[in-house]
Amino acid sequence: MTERQVFGPSFGEMVLRAQGLACGRGGVVLAEALNFVVASGRCLLLRGPNGAGKSTLLLTLAGIVSPLAGGSVLEGTDEDAGPQLHYCGHRNALKPRLSVLENLDFWAALNGPTGMAAPDALDRVGLGHIAGLDAGYLSAGQGRRLALARLLVSVRPLWLLDEPTAALDVEGHALVTELIDAHLDRGGLVVAATHDPITLPDLTRMQTLAMGRAR
């Protein structure tokens, strides 16, 4: 499990740039005047207390919530190439009545099966042995793993992860770190909001954005 695998070609040079970004929901500003640059092969960790706007910032970057001011752009991508990001939120978007493999197959079909084959991805996140089971039987941690497998079956440069390690055990934490590391290896970008410390082997790849209403 520890060998570094690089699947498919690596991405070109990309930069996620946010300028004067303010985000919030329901008319309440949660974070403002955010400026950051994330380059290919780098991971941005969002830190801060509950309610600091980490999740909202991720939703704003994903284009689901519109920014209150400023904006963000992923430079170096083709406008027509379709969505360039994977968003992985609190909710795992699993259908309990479909099997683990069927759940994953759907996302592969919808987002384009450009990455790993679905069974391989399940092996990678440690769910290979229960691929045929209904997703309803999965524990919270296993559901999380399945949600992470979705990032592997379709290749997209930018990952937006909201508490990726939530409900995961120690091995799971290691898995998240490995997945992020492998993604950075091929030139991907990661923005992750987390309370758990994520430590990549190469610390120079990490940058941190402290959020909170200390201002």
Binding site: G20, A22, R25, G26, G27, V28, E32, A33, G51, A69, G70, R213
Partner: protein
């Protein structure tokens, strides 16, 4: 925050700021009220003392003076809401949300009045309170659309989010209302030979038109006045909600 360098803003931008909108239109409120009151006094005087009874409808023609303006407003208010909905969706104009929300109960009330006076007019004229006539039926459907919109406003917790969603529904309704009207007309002519409601047309003498016009303007100005006042209230309510939310937040971080 982006720095705004526009030295002079157009009125359009100025009213985009809720607080300034209230400040700017506050002055309009009293003149509008006075105009409305005067129009009603004149209109009612014409309606009762200075208009003849119709040779066909007799004195019941006087119901028209409140029925027709109500019916007009029931549609005009929806048009106001539809334009505001466009303002919300296309220009993201903050006052458009407010206008849309303030108009809905007014429109529903005038629609109820149109139905109420229509049925009181129908009893002596047609001999029944309710006739499944094309116009009355489509007005009834319109009332349900209004009530649906009001229910929708009440169902949402977050009013900013509600505005955009309700704007979509308002526009869907606006596209649908002509279709509903057409289908109901088609349906009512299928089931009965001809519509009975033929009060308009060249047979109407000027002495009836005068009070009708005055009342028409009186009702329209009444709507404009109430709408403006309700918009001011709505702006304040939003400020209030923002402050309350802020108070809660302050309580958490303290």
């Amino acid at each position: 925050m982006t720095i705004e360098t526009a030295p002079k803003q157009s009125w359009w931008n100025r009213i985009a700021h809720p607080g300034q909108f209230v400040a700017m239109t506050q002055r309009l409120l009293w003149p509008l009220t006075i105009i409305t009151a005067l129009l009603f006094v004149v209109g009612l005087w014409f309606a009762f003392f200075n208009s003849p009874e119709d040779y066909q409808m007799g004195d019941t023609v006087r119901i028209m003076y409140v029925h027709v303006p109500s019916a007009w407003l029931s549609q005009f208010v929806y048009a106001v809401m539809a334009v505001s909905a466009l303002g919300t969706l296309v220009w993201r104009h903050p006052m458009a949300d407010v206008s849309m929300k303030a108009a809905a109960p007014l429109g529903a009330t005038f629609t109820v009045l149109a139905l109420f006076t229509g049925s009181l007019w129908g009893r002596p004229t047609w001999g029944t309170f309710w006739e499944w006539d094309g116009r009355m039926t489509s007005t009834l459907v319109l009332l349900f659309i209004y009530l649906g919109i009001i229910a929708l406003w009440r169902a949402f917790d977050d009013q900013l989010r509600a505005a955009r969603v309700i704007a979509v529904f308002t526009l869907v309704g606006a596209v649908n209302i002509p279709i509903i009207k057409f289908s109901v007309d088609w349906w009512s002519t299928l089931h009965q030979p001809a519509s009975v409601f033929r009060a308009d047309g060249p047979t109407m003498p000027g002495s009836i038109l005068t009070p009708l016009f005055v009342m028409f303007f009186a009702f329209t100005f009444l709507f404009l006045t109430l709408h403006l006042k309700a918009m001011h209230t709505e702006v304040r309510r939003r400020k209030l909600m923002a402050l309350e939310r802020q108070a809660v937040q302050a309580g958490v971080s303290a």
